[in-house]
């Protein structure tokens, strides 16, 4: 993101001794000493697992090999080949794609509508509204799953509300058709608050004078939104899309606590598949699946950067 190119204002060392050879060496030593605790924990608990996972994905490592890793054989791309032939994995990729393709636009649209409403010049209760929309973000998924299962059950609140408009709702979480849409709505509910705040910050960048000028020129609200607000908001929208895609491609917890991936694998995501394989002790296979997901996340982020850039 923009950060890699952020100007490091006068990164040159300060202080009298810094320009001598000895001073520079001393500063390097001090710097690495400061960085040491981070480097240690980051190296052991992030980089090491990241590399091991990559290596493992080319082996037949199983849980039984943990005590004796020398039994492990290299299998090249064997795990990856097996992965793409596995019907359950292919199903999980389709499910994840479904979740992402519907979930991201839905969450962005809802959050954008709420942010624009909050930014429309209302003065009272702004904080209360913002707190309300953000509350689902801070709450544990395990806790909210309990009440959502209750709401979505056959005889639950949602179906009761639907009968008022004459609709007989399905048993949401036990239907192969409706389980995924239910989880998408739940996830939207849990994530829109974050985007509302990000979008609100972005909307502050839209100059009021520009809006007023367009208003004087006779542009209606939709035209002003479409021609002024949206273009200025584009970097913010990109940021929201990237954050969401990194999160939504990892879709797992909602399915884990609500449907256990069912019914009939209809909510089984790639992360869920990986977790299952880990549970079966198929560590090499699980690692391969996780790297497929990693690549997908990087690719989708790059595509989004391209797409948003090319609009300029």
């Amino acid at each position: 993101m923009a950060t890699t190119t952020a100007p490091t204002k006068r990164a040159a060392p300060v202080g009298a001794g810094a320009y001598t050879m000895q001073g520079r060496r001393r500063q390097a030593l001090i710097a690495w000493l400061f960085a040491l605790p981070f480097v240690l924990f980051f190296g052991i608990f992030m980089l090491l697992p990241l590399v091991s996972s990559f290596v493992m994905s080319f082996t037949d490592f199983r849980s039984s090999d943990v005590q004796n890793p020398l039994n492990v054989d290299l299998v090249g791309l064997g795990q990856y080949a097996a992965l793409f032939e596995n019907p359950q994995f292919r199903q999980s990729m389709l499910n994840t794609a479904y979740f992402v393709v519907v979930g991201i636009p839905l969450t962005m649209a809802v959050a954008l509508a709420l942010a624009v409403a909050l930014n429309s010049g209302i003065t009272r209760f702004r904080t209360a509204f913002r707190v309300g929309f953000y509350t689902p973000v801070v709450t544990s998924i395990v806790a909210v799953a309990v009440v959502w299962r209750f709401i979505l059950q056959d005889t639950g609140l949602l179906n009761q509300a639907l009968t008022w408009v004459g609709v007989v709702g399905p048993d949401w979480l036990n239907s192969t058709t409706w389980a995924m849409p239910s989880l998408i709505v739940l996830t939207t509910w849990r994530n829109m608050g974050t985007l509302v705040i990000i979008f609100l910050a972005g909307l502050q960048n839209v100059p009021v004078e520009l809006q007023e000028a367009a208003f004087v020129d006779g542009a209606n609200a939709w035209q002003r939104f479409r021609r002024i607000t949206l273009p200025i908001l584009r970097p913010t929208l990109l940021l929201g899309a990237v954050l969401l895609s990194v999160a939504y491609l990892q879709f797992f917890e909602e399915a884990f606590v609500m449907t256990q991936g069912g019914p009939l694998d209809s909510t089984l995501s790639v992360t869920y598949f990986t977790y299952d394989q880990f549970g079966f002790g198929e560590y090499g296979f699980a690692s391969a699946a996780s790297y497929v997901l990693f690549v997908a996340i990087v690719l989708l982020s790059l595509v989004q950067f391209r797409a948003f850039r090319s609009l300029d």
Binding site: F34, A35, P37, P49, Y134, V146, V147, S290, V298
Partner: protein, 277 residues
Amino acid sequence: MALTERPPRSHGFMYVALTTAVLLTLVPFLWMLLGSFKTQSELLRDPTGWLPTSPTFQNYRSWLTDLGFGHYFRNSLIVAGFTVIGNLLFCSMVGYVLAKMSFPGKRLLFGLVLTTLMVPGVVTFVPLFVLVSKLRLVDTYPALILPFLVTPLGVFLMRQFMLGIPDSLIEAARMDGAGEIRIFARIVMPLCGPPLATLAILTFLSSWNNFLWPLVAAQSDSRYTLPVALSLYSTGQNATDYGLLLAGSVLTITPIIVLFVFLQRFFVQGVAGTGIK
């Protein structure tokens, strides 16, 4: 100006729309709260009811006595506490040198931090578990804390803020003969209140709500955190005792909601800041 002459009608509509949206958003919490005071039989008899017909504290009493809520709460607090302290201290230290010093390997270090921001948790999950088992740490507090003791996001946050601290301030302290630790602790850190608050909140939040790793790494009742305990109750033999589960949910989310309402300004700063800056 022109905009101020617009009829107030549009604002009235906005208030109605926003109020409806907020109420819809909060319905699950309201229903959770009301349901936690109901008996099992009432919840089964009337699964869409709102007000409890004969409110009972029995669900809460069970959690606070037999089910050991205090114990899980303490575990969650210990894990979150150490995770927050580690992040505040270590991420600021490395953030400081990345922002204010030049040394060989700096670009590589920062590059690694940025790259790992996008790594999905599941990629490191398996080797992390193997590592923790090898270190014989399964079912210990360190297993729940160490993997989260430093985060790339924390480093990023601290570095970005520290870039804005004037070099002249640090230079002046050096001229006066202050050592690096002293400069860091006495000059730089006191200026870093806002990002430290943000980092503390974000870390506490993700640790408190963290679920998957503790589910795997904590294997006995003595180390379960709140979400793990709640999830095991909701799939175990109590799975159908809805009143109990709803009360457990209320108890799990109340601390974080209270914290959020009091510190919401910092939450907002944090979310807007990590994204935009």
